[in-house]
């Protein structure tokens, strides 16, 4: 036991010889982004994110999405922008386009290619481990090309004393000959294997699928403004699993089309369709039957005058599936089908150097048919108005949305089902600016109403209850920056939520929740490298039931959170956090004179103390140790007498090592490995007598390591 606990400390220490994850934040200094999530600005994997919010605004993409694209493809923001401009694609398509072109045999320009990349990832959780291996090989010599993509995933799951395995393997190999710069002919083999020995099944379950196909790849460029690709695959199909043995033919067509005219018009289209015709032996009934599967999707986007003051963007997609699924109990093939078509259009105009106003309208229609619930038909349409601009120093944001939905599921039971009409409306606005040179202020207001109406189709015993859910809230937030070392802020938030069940039989649950929250916070740099932050909150939630007397309640919340951040050396930092929370609650009773009184029912007191030690000895490894202790006490009040109900203490200890380690010139080892220890003990007080529970402990390794190698 001692060794296990010691390993929490020893493991990070042993891995000390390795790196770094700097977590330094880079804050925007303008008032407009004063309330943005600055954790997104933290450096990672050698990437920096300065100017992220401003850039995301101008690209009309969420800051976290932009950051995620940058990290996933390890491209710095400026590099990402340059590539998007040069390839004439959207920022979020840069990575995909690079990967696609890298392995496109028709994109090879004469030079011999012999690329191999390998990625392995190992994830370790308390009762599950997962090991993913992926290899990618690309060989081009003159007109000859060979490509292989292989992935193997091995999972282990522990349930009780049993361990089950889940293994999936997939290999896709294609070889061919480039007949002309725009045509190639070849063959490919797509092999899939799946095995599991889940102990809940009597025998192990496996699936084996093989497809051997001829391939034809083509590329067209009918004019300087248009280019396209069209690929065909067709061949034999073989599938075996515990439900069926299938033999037949399968085919696939995929392609993409792009048309651009100057800088004012771009239209991109991608699509894929697969079809198969097979003879199936159903197990265990041994019935023989013919079946077919069809799947297809078409996705496109069009932009007009994208870089002009007024522009238009549209996305459209069509998806259709019609596949057969064996029903082993009945010994037949059941059809599952789904279709979806969606289109949206956004008209946008720029407002000033960083602002815009846009109107977006979308429509979607979908039909799903399943053996369990029959068909579900859904139509939706939505309107979205967005405004973001600056006006006389104020950052202004507004948003209005209205979404209408109509769905019908008439076959949920043998006698019928129900339909739903929904109407969701939301209006939100906020203003922020820096006042008097020192005060960052923000005002936000929001109102919304979600309406759901249900009607029975045929006979259905338990349709959902028709209801309205209304929300209103406003928030005032201000931070006064006294000096660069000291700032303090106040926040007030008021919200009102209503639940209105419409049918008389369900109105007893109708209620209104009024919430009030106030916060005072301050940050002070006591010494060079030592900063203190405190956040004090007051909150009250009043719940009143419209048609139930004596049922109203109130829950109060007083909390304080204090953090000390110490940067002892550029490589060593320590954070210490203490929090306290007191939460009384009880009845909110109306007296004869019309006044309300609080009748205490119970009270929880929660205190916690946690710290975080982070050591970054080099740019390739960082170590962190995070111990935390939490105490919860709950008391009840019965007839004015306060008695203890339950208390709980728990201790959590985490040790982690984060790596970003170059292996030679072509490999990288990244990820984290750590150990978690959790101990918990409670005491109950039946009849006032303390009864302790046994100590509960969890102690396990966690980790996620990725090794990648490429030439």
């Amino acid at each position: 036991m001692l060794l296990r606990k010691l390993s929490l400390v020893l493991v990070p220490m042993l891995l000390l010889a390795a790196s770094v994850l700097p977590g330094r934040a880079q804050e925007d200094k303008t008032g407009r982004y004063a309330f943005a999530d600055t954790t997104l600005l933290r450096d990672t994997l050698g990437l920096t994110f300065g100017g992220l919010f401003r850039l995301a605004d101008s690209l009309e993409i969420a800051p976290d999405s932009l950051r995620a694209h940058s990290i996933r493809y390890r491209l710095a923001l400026p590099r990402l922008l340059v590539l998007a401009d040069s390839m004439h694609v959207r920022v979020d398509s840069v990575g995909l386009t690079l990967v696609r072109e890298r392995f496109n045999p028709l994109a090879a320009q004469g030079a011999a290619v012999n690329d191999f990349s390998y990625n392995t990832t190992y994830n370790l959780l308390q009762t599950r481990s997962s090991w993913l291996n992926a290899a990618d090989y690309n060989f081009v010599y003159g007109p000859l090309f060979i490509r292989n993509v292989t992935t193997i995933q091995l999972d282990r799951l522990e349930t009780g004393n049993a361990t089950s395995l889940w293994q999936a393997r997939e290999s896709n190999t294609e070889g061919g000959w480039r007949l002309t710069p725009n045509y190639s002919l070849g063959a490919r083999a797509v092999l899939n294997r799946f095995d599991t020995d889940d102990p809940s099944t009597i025998t192990s379950v496996g699936e084996k699928r093989n497809e051997y196909q001829l391939s034809l790849r083509t590329r067209q460029r009918p004019s300087p403004t248009m280019n396209s690709e069209l690929n065909f695959f067709a061949g034999a199909l073989e599938l075996r699993n515990t439900e069926q043995e299938k033999h037949g033919w399968s085919s696939e067509v995929n392609g993409r089309f792009r048309q651009a005219a100057g800088v004012w018009f771009v239209n991109e289209l991608t699509g894929r369709a697969t079809a198969s015709q097979s003879r199936v032996l159903l197990l265990p009934s041994l019935n023989n039957t013919n079946t077919h599967d069809l799947t297809g999707n078409l996705n496109g986007n069009m932009s007009l005058f994208n870089s002009s003051r007024v522009g238009f963007k549209s996305n459209y997609s069509v998806v259709g599936n019609d596949v057969g699924q064996p029903n082993t109990a009945k010994g037949v093939i059941e059809r599952l089908s789904s279709n979806r078509a969606a289109i949206d259009g956004a008209l946008r105009t720029r407002l000033g150097p960083e602002g815009y106003f846009s109107v977006t309208q979308n429509f979607a229609h979908s039909v799903n048919i399943t053996a369990l619930n029959g068909s579900t038909d859904r139509n939706t349409s939505g309107t979205l108005l967005e405004l973001r601009t600056t006006y006389r120093g104020w950052g202004i944001e507004g948003r209005f949305s209205s979404d209408l939905g109509r769905a019908e599921s008439p076959e949920l039971s043998s006698t019928g089902g129900y339909g739903e009409n929904s109407n969701l409306r939301n209006l939100e606005g906020s203003m922020s600016r820096r006042l008097f040179g020192h005060l960052d202020a923000r005002i936000n207001a929001r109102i919304g109403l979600n309406s759901y109406r249900y009607h029975v189709i045929g006979a259905y015993p338990t349709p959902p209850v028709s209801r309205d859910q209304a929300q209103q809230s406003y928030l005032i937030d201000g931070t006064y920056v006294f000096t660069s070392d000291f700032n303090s802020g106040l926040l007030l938030e008021v919200a009102r939520n209503q639940l209105v069940n419409i049918p008389s039989a369900s109105t007893s649950a109708n209620n209104t929740l009024r919430s009030y929250r106030a916060e005072w916070r301050w940050t002070y740099r006591l010494l060079q490298g030592l900063t203190a932050t405190q956040r004090n909150t007051l909150g009250a939630n009043y719940t009143s039931y419209n048609f139930l007397t004596g049922a109203d309640r109130v829950a109060l919340d007083y909390g304080t959170l204090t953090t000390l951040n110490a940067v002892l050396t550029p490589r060593l930092s320590i954070d210490l956090t203490h929090s306290g929370q007191v939460q009384p609650s009880g009845g909110w009773t109306r007296q004869d004179d019309g006044t309300y009184v609080f009748q205490p029912a119970d009270e929880s007191r929660i205190f916690s103390l946690s710290s975080r030690f982070q050591y970054t000895p080099s740019p390739i490894v960082s170590l962190s140790i995070i111990p935390s202790y939490r105490s919860t006490t709950r008391e009840g009040n019965l007839n004015g007498v306060t008695t203890p109900q339950r208390d709980n203490r728990n201790l959590t200890f985490q040790g982690n090592a984060n790596l970003n380690l170059p292996i030679g010139r072509r490999g990288t080892l990244s990820g984290s490995v750590g150990r978690q220890y959790y101990a918990d003990r409670s005491r109950e007080f039946p009849s006032g007598v303390p009864t302790p529970s046994p100590l509960s402990e969890l102690d396990y390794w966690t980790g996620s390591l990725q090794f990648s190698w490429k030439p």
Partner: protein
């Protein structure tokens, strides 16, 4: 900033303002129907067993009438104030299988949310059965009771045929009798039923259903 841009801003602001002002009714919830004077069942908490029977009726009600209120009324703290709280404890293997750290204290508020989610697991009618646990005899006093019960929640088609299990297990319960004479649950300790079929993923404890409802 150009005059044109300024005009756009003003138009946008005016649009939002007009929308906000004229939208008072647009964002006003509908008037509900007057409350029904008749209910499908009457909650009864006059004895520990009638409290459990009320829970079974509340689940069968599926929130159509007074199910949610009746279910809440069977749990301590409840809506009448001045009462101690309700706590649910999970079976350790359920927590291990869930593979996340559960809430530190599963209390009255979480239990209320659980009810609204549990009744939507399946569209079929629910039926709940309580049965004595012969291995753990009841200890019922004047104002406190500890009792173990086996529970089984099943889903049924309209013709009454069983379509699937929803929950199965044991509950070690502590109930207190409050000054209003009603018995309410203050502690629910969940146990797995060793006879539950492990190959049927619907044969899980209510504790597991609670965890899955988060």
């Amino acid at each position: 900033m150009t005059m044109r841009a300024t005009r756009w801003i003003r138009l946008g602001l005016l649009g939002f303002l007009a929308l906000g002002i004229s939208a008072c009714d647009y964002f006003r919830p509908a008037e509900p129907e007057p409350p029904s004077t008749s209910t499908s069942f009457l909650p009864d908490y006059s004895s520990p067993d009638s409290t459990l029977a009320t829970i079974a009726k509340a689940l069968a009600d599926k929130g159509r009438t007074i199910g949610a209120t009746a279910y809440a009324g069977a749990l301590a703290e409840s809506l009448s104030g001045s009462l101690p709280g309700y706590h649910q404890l999970f079976w350790p293997q359920d927590v291990a299988d869930w593979n996340r750290i559960p809430p530190g204290d599963w209390n009255f508020t979480l239990e209320q949310t659980f009810y609204t989610r549990f009744i939507r697991v399946l569209p079929n009618a629910y039926y709940m059965e309580w049965a004595p646990d012969p291995q753990h005899p009841d200890n019922i006093g004047a104002n406190a009771a500890t009792m173990s019960r086996h529970y089984l929640v099943t889903a049924h088609a309209e013709d009454g045929t069983l379509t699937s299990y929803i929950a199965i297990g044991f509950a070690d319960l502590t109930l207190l009798r409050f000054p209003d004479g009603n018995w309410r649950i203050v502690r629910w300790e969940d146990r797995r039923d060793p006879d539950a079929n492990p190959t049927d993923t619907d044969q899980v404890t209510l504790g597991m259903r609670r965890l899955n409802s988060i």
